[in-house]
C-alpha cells in the first residue's frame, strides 16, 4: 500500500514554491504599477527582476527533475495536457516579466513608454495568476489521489502564493531601505489579511476532505494531522508559516517584525507545498495492503539475488577453466 506520494519530491516542491513566490511578487508590483502607485515605484524594476530570477531558479529545478533534460523542449508538444499548459504559462510569464523589467532600465529606448509598460504589466498579471493557479489544477488530474480533488485546492494555492509574493515584496522594500514608506504598512496589512484567509481556507479544505473524501483522502489528513507529516504540517505550515507571522504582523509594523513575518511566511509556503505534495496517497488496489514486502525491499532482495548469481557464475567459470 502506498504510504505517500513518492514521485515528486523536493525538486517539484521547490519549483512550485519559487514559481508561486516569483509570480506573485511580479503580480503585486505590476498591479501597483497599473494602479498608478508611485511611492515605491523606484523598486518596481528590481522586484520584477528578482521575480524573474526566482521563477527562473524554479524552472531550473523543474528541468533537473526531468530524467531527459535535453528533451525538455518536448514538454511543449501537447498543448492539451495540463503540464504543457503550465510550461506555456511559465514561458510566457518569464518572457513578459523580462520585457517588463527592461522598462526600468534607463538606457533602454522604450523605458519611457508608460502605456506600453502598463499593457505588459496587465499581461504579466494574467500570466502570473495562471502560473499560480495551474498547480492546483495539475494535481487535481490525479483521479486516484482524492486528497487533491477538493474544490478549494486552487484557491488555497492562490492565497498561499499571494502570501509568499507579498512577503517577497516586503523583504525587498526593507532591503532597499524603503521601510519608512507608507506601503510597508499597506503590504503588511495585506499580508495579515492573506494569512488569515490562508488559515481559514486551509482549515476548511482539510475539514471538507475529511467529511467528503474517500478513505485515502481521510488517511492523508490523518497523516498530516497526527501521522508522519505532523511536524511539517503543524510546525512548518501552521505555527511557523502562519500563526507566528500573523502574530508578528498584528503586533506592529516595525521593520524587525515585518522581516521576521515575511521570512517565516516564505518558510511556511515551502512546507505547505511539501506537505500537500507528499501527503496525497493513491487509492489502494484490492489486497495491496497485504503485500508482504514493499517495492524497496523487493529491489534489495533482487539486488542480493543478482549478486549471488553473479558470484555463482564466477565460481562455475573458475571450476570450468
Amino acid at each position: 500500500m502506498e504510504q505517500k506520494q513518492e514521485y515528486w519530491g523536493w525538486l517539484a516542491t521547490g519549483y512550485f514554491f519559487l514559481a508561486a513566490m516569483g509570480a506573485m511578487m511580479a503580480a503585486v508590483v505590476a498591479m501597483l504599477d497599473v494602479l498608478g502607485v508611485t511611492v515605491i515605484d523606484q523598486i518596481y524594476g528590481w522586484v520584477s527582476f528578482a521575480a524573474l530570477v526566482i521563477t527562473g531558479c524554479g524552472s531550473l529545478l523543474l528541468m533537473v527533475e526531468l530524467t531527459h533534460i535535453f528533451r525538455a523542449y518536448l514538454v511543449y508538444a501537447r498543448p492539451k495536457s495540463i503540464m504543457c499548459m503550465g510550461s506555456y504559462l511559465l514561458t510566457s510569464f518569464l518572457g513578459l516579466t523580462f520585457v517588463y523589467t527592461t522598462f526600468f532600465i534607463y538606457f533602454v529606448p522604450w523605458s519611457g513608454w508608460v502605456l506600453v509598460r502598463k499593457l505588459v504589466a496587465v499581461l504579466d498579471i494574467v500570466a502570473a495568476l495562471g502560473l499560480v493557479v495551474y498547480p492546483g489544477l495539475e494535481l487535481a488530474e490525479a483521479r486516484g489521489r482524492s486528497f487533491w480533488q477538493g474544490s478549494g485546492l486552487v484557491a488555497l494555492f492562490l492565497v498561499s502564493a499571494t502570501s509568499t509574493g507579498l512577503a517577497g515584496v516586503l523583504l525587498m522594500l526593507i532591503f532597499f531601505e524603503l521601510s519608512g514608506s507608507e506601503y510597508l504598512g499597506v503590504l503588511s496589512t495585506l499580508l495579515t489579511v492573506s494569512l488569515v484567509l490562508q488559515l481559514v481556507l486551509l482549515g476548511s479544505y482539510l475539514w471538507g476532505v475529511r467529511l467528503n473524501g474517500t478513505k485515502e483522502g481521510r488517511q492523508a489528513i490523518l497523516n498530516m494531522v497526527k501521522g508522519p507529516y505532523c511536524v511539517n504540517f503543524w510546525g512548518g505550515v501552521v505555527v511557523l508559516g502562519t500563526l507566528i507571522p500573523l502574530g508578528l504582523s498584528i503586533l506592529g509594523k516595525m521593520v524587525p517584525f515585518a522581516v521576521g513575518a515575511a521570512a517565516l511566511v516564505l518558510i511556511g509556503g515551502l512546507f505547505f507545498r511539501r506537505t500537500f505534495l507528499q501527503a496525497a496517497e493513491r487509492i489502494s488496489m484490492p489486497g495491496e495492503e497485504n503485500q508482504q514486502i514493499n517495492d524497496q525491499q523487493t529491489k534489495e532482495l533482487a539486488a542480493a539475488l543478482e549478486s549471488r548469481w553473479m558470484e555463482k557464475a564466477r565460481w562455475l567459470k573458475n571450476q570450468c577453466s
Partner: protein, 180 residues
Amino acid sequence: MRWGMLIDLKKCVGCHACTVACQNENHLPLAMKYCKVYKVGPEGEYPNLTSYNIPIACMHCQEAPCVEGCPSGASHHREDGTVSINPKKCVGCRFCLLVCPYGVRHMNKETGAVEKCTLCVERLETGEVTRCTETCQLKARHVGDLDDPDSELVRIIHKENARPLYEHLGTKPSIYYIMP
C-alpha cells in the same frame, strides 16, 4: 478494434506465473513487475469468509489520465485502443506515475523512461495471445476485441457481468474482472 482483457478471479490461484512470464517476455529486472498479483482477504466473518487473488497491470484506459496528462505525447493511444509509451519522447517528468490511479507504471532508471504493460501488442498483431494469457495454467485470462460484439471476450463479459476495476474513477479501463 479495441484490444481488451478479461481476468476471471474465480480461477486465479495467485501462482504469479503471469508476473514471471511477463518479466521474461519484456526482459525486466527482478524488481520490476508490469503485472503484480495481490492476495485479497481473508475478508468477512466466519463462516462467511472470502479470499481471492487479483492480478493488476496497466488497464489500457480509454480515458487514460496518463495519456491526457503527458506533456510530450510519449504516452498515447494506439489505433487498437491500447495505451503505449514512446520511450524516445518520454522526458521523465513522472506526471503519468503521479496520475495513474492503478500505480502500474514504472520508471526505468537505466533508460530514464517510463515503462508498463504493453498488452503484448506485437504478439496480438501476429495472432498470438498475450504472454500472461498463454502462461496462465488455469485459463483465467482471455484477450480479444472489445468492439466485436460476437467475440468470445465480449460474450463472457456480458454473461459473467464482468466489470473493470474502480469504474467510478471514470478512466474506462479495457481490463475486465469476473469477481469471485
